[in-house]
Symmetry: D3
Subunit: 249 residues, 6 copies
């Protein structure tokens, strides 16, 4: 199996974290690759940045899908996921939805630990879009400036553990989701100290992508996830244009 993780942001250091955790999580036979967005911002914490990340991810998905068995949108919030799922021919999994599905198989209500206060409103909306707001116990967040997006785990580990514990004690979380690609892999190191299951988006997404490849459930040719109907377009990248104009059986 070949899985491409698309970092919709421009941070190579975060792509490295993503790739490392993805490889740790993948089955032996799976080949993992990561691409980094050529346009966008360092990391997404607003709806505007997510909108840009969605466009960047869509372009990368169009460019690369032919060479992979599944795609992972490798930013929490899953920018562009629903649209990209419509357009490409392989399964697409997002970090948020993957983490939420794992969490739902492990307990009743989950809390999300986020890397900034600003990002929490958008995360809440993502949970709502996934239809799971009734299972959200809380979103807790770091509330300090982030010196280096690739070094959050080291810089803030104590505070992150503490947020997990408070979510369990005060908010009734049965499961904790560590949110955001910059936290990829953290679950492995702090898991033994947290008294409930700990879910990581990258490893969940890679495993769920493998599952969708294996289950081979089929591609929508009808309904709202069928490929977009062909119609006039202009000004798009060659890859997106090709995707929209592809003739399907």
């Amino acid at each position: 199996m070949r899985i491409l993780l698309i970092n919709p942001n421009i941070s190579q250091s975060v792509s490295d974290l993503i790739g490392a955790e993805a490889r740790r999580a993948a089955s032996a036979a799976t080949r993992i690759e990561v691409v980094t967005a050529p346009l966008g911002v360092a990391y997404i914490e607003t709806r505007f940045e997510a909108l840009i990340g969605a466009y960047a991810a869509a372009n990368l998905a169009a460019e690369h899908e032919a060479n992979f068995d599944a795609l992972v949108i490798a930013a929490f919030g899953d920018p562009g996921i629903a649209g990209i799922r419509e357009a490409v021919d392989v399964p697409v999994v997002g970090l948020t939805e993957a983490a939420l599905m794992s969490a739902c198989l492990l307990g009743g209500r989950f809390s999300i630990i986020a890397i900034s206060r600003r990002i929490t409103a958008w995360y809440r909306e993502c949970v709502q879009v996934n239809g799971l707001i009734d299972r959200l116990a809380s979103i807790r967040c770091l509330d300090q400036p982030l010196r280096d997006i690739g070094a959050i785990q080291g810089d803030h580990e104590t505070r992150l553990r503490e947020l997990c514990l408070r979510a369990v004690e005060e908010d009734g979380a049965d499961v904790i989701v560590l949110a955001g690609a910059p936290l990829a892999g953290l679950a492995r190191s702090i898991r033994k100290d947290i008294p409930v299951p700990l879910v990581d988006g990258v490893s969940s997404a890679v495993r769920h992508a493998e599952t969708l490849i294996a289950l081979a459930p089929g591609r929508a040719s009808r309904g709202s996830y069928a490929p977009p109907p062909t119609k006039p377009n202009q000004g798009l990248s060659p890859a997106v244009q090709a995707l929209l104009e592809r003739r399907r059986p």
Copy 2:
């Protein structure tokens, strides 16, 4: 007042419909302009096309906001609305949210009349994102190929009237929303034959934009609609880059 309507699609014929209805609806002192997206598709009916439209709209918003008192995202589904609202300094109104708010002031439950079956799933999600799904009586749609996106009103008027009547009789609609920029202005001509209030997105959006300008409620400098925090970026249009790097008081 100067209001810019942003057509996130490439269809000049639809921009013309939008502009005409906007001018009919605006107060005498309001100056209306319309811009058409230089990139994208003819009209949006899928999540993927909405994602592209959002990016196109964001770029146009960044480029033009300094010259206007309010912006209108002039496609049903409001592609990019929440992100653009964060980023620019003037009020931003979308066709869907404007129509829904008008509908809510006119009755209890509303139905939406759409121009294609494919588009209905996305419209339903838009109503849900606006938090108003409990007031949605139904979405009914044309189910024929669209010969010419600028000529739907003429080509399908009989069927559109019929959909309105069935929404009232069978679905319990108290109000009807005619959805989609290609239907801009239709409400004026069929209103007298429909036994419940009929809402048009363009005229609602223009009027609500005027209201927000007049009320001058202030710009968010805190919370999740404050401008995105400054951080490294690359590959963006000069206007978007300037928006993200603007120094705010």
Copy 3:
């Protein structure tokens, strides 16, 4: 345009606040009038008082509607709004629904600032009836005896500002609604100190009423907002009786 604001309470001092803010908010060509309920209480903070206010408002609406292009029910909680909307021939707007619709066009989640603790349960129910409970961040309230209903703004301004700030900081409000006719106009004076958009019910209602007049969406003759079917009645005021027995085309 002629708009009548109906104060469903007996407080002339509150009617004066309402009228002053309504005139500040209205377009130049709009004529504003205010009537005060001849029966009822000083201000509504319970469901029982709202029930009385609804009856008072219905009688005033029946009496005056023929002379106006739109009516505003000028108490937060919109006593009687849905019933009055069914019965009269012109648009009817309530302070709460108007404020909520404005808030929804300005951000994701809103908080409401109320003038007493007792009133908050009823406000919460009003948000729920409007179908917008998922967008309610919090309701915060004054918790002191009210010396003079017409002088709350002066007596409690510091505390009211503080409640706004806490709603933003602690509850995640993107927008603040100042609730209750006794706070009419306060937004203008404190707006610059509050870091999110501030919405006032009276000015929102006046502007939305103007919009509904301008859009002229039509009157329901079918569905659940059509005029009540004629049937035997007794003991009603002449105006209400006339309304119920009016022959419609």
Copy 4:
């Protein structure tokens, strides 16, 4: 126990139906009385009529509560129930809420059978206000002119049975609620022909009122169902005025 049923409408024939069913349902030791509203309409099927009925019911409640151990608001839709519950010192039960509570103890989802199409929108809102919309399977209704409000049971029995059966077969109803005071007692005669439990509002309300008297759960002196705080009032009936100005321990 003394229970007063308040008919918020002016129809003596409906009061007679209510009284007869109430006496059949009550325990031997319970004394039943019925009062008919001196003002209002023949029967409520709109929000406007409910608003008037609420006011009429409130006045009757204020006038009579001192002589009874519990009150029943004897119209479906429970006009004024929440407000009256705040104001008087004895338990108050509405036909709708009583029927819904009985239905919830008998199965998962219920359907409501109503006497006119117009009334269904308001019933749906009542279910929503009771927080039970997720358990509503459907509302089905008569769709014929009503010759005589006191004779619906005889005039339409065949059709009413048919609506019950269709709710079970097509809508998945586990329980049927026969809605509206004019149907009081019908359940007794058709019960054996309907394949799911059949709930009548009047008998449910009388029994639940007896239960609340027996349980003696106490009267709210705090929270949102405490009596309204005393404040200036004018123009009210002597009974309502006395209620609002009563000194409580």
Copy 5:
């Protein structure tokens, strides 16, 4: 009337509390009996224990239903209620649903007071299953080890009163539900000190059971509460087997 209360737990001391409160609450003519589960745990506070309690209750219901006019599942959380309701021929009432229905007739939102922290997650799920989560103000709980399940009322009365008061003051509860069979009867002794109505599950269930017997709404022979269709089975108790194989008219 003969009502059987089924304690799905093995604690005789709790059965004694249940029986005493049931007899205090029942009408004079009602005969109350209590059975204690022969298998299970001392008291239920987890989903696993509830699963066992449901099985124990089902067996007892099958064994005894022929001799009673109604059954009460006498543990909070109502283990097995929906399944048992399908299978037996008499009305079945659970402590939780009975308490919630009483609470809904007394005010808008209720709080639940529970005997351990662990139990609260399951109680929350029970409220959700009953479709009433929007009316839940809060769940508050004892947070101390329980020395003796039959003596909680005496051991923790001060703290229980305090939890009630905080639910009113801080959570906006209009009504308090004292949850759990071990608290049966407590409401009678502390009622006068709590400023909102106080609901007890056992007395509510007994009274509602009497009401269902009196209303005689009929037994489902269609729909999802009809008796389970006959099919092969094995390994069940003779009583359950007989229930499943009974021939119905």
Copy 6:
């Protein structure tokens, strides 16, 4: 990896279907075993049967968990899942929740195809308990007597295909879930004829179980999924007793 599938019913023929599909779906290195309940019914379609199945599954889980890395509750509706998840030390996955999670990764809204009308009410409740009711497009079902529970796929294939197509065309399903262990494996044979992704519970559950084993998210020692606190018990199977009395670190 060793995964045990627990058939909570007594049908060996269904266990065979389950085992066959599980082995087709599992990774090469995974060892699959299936156990059949020694007590219960042929297949579950009511809440009462689910209650019995839950007890049977709990006993089998207690007996076997020590020898496996994960358990699958192999009946749609997941009888006992939440309780068993609390009690055992390995991950537990149910057919319904596994299928729903797969479906959520493949599209927006899903329909469920069920084997009998009676079963649909319970399935709907299962979707609700999983918090995903807003993503349920419809439940469609066979409506014929089932000759042989192990032969439904052959007997009813044409009708099952037809139900899938109608869910897509009429209900707006983006994904179809084939529900019930008796349909295990059907997706493989009809997939190519259905125009949207088709999800099978058994293969989804096996794959998700493998994922949870691989992710090793940790076991809850706090919160509502920690093992039940130790307390007196009696009458339980030795395995369940041992589980409840196990000393944990």
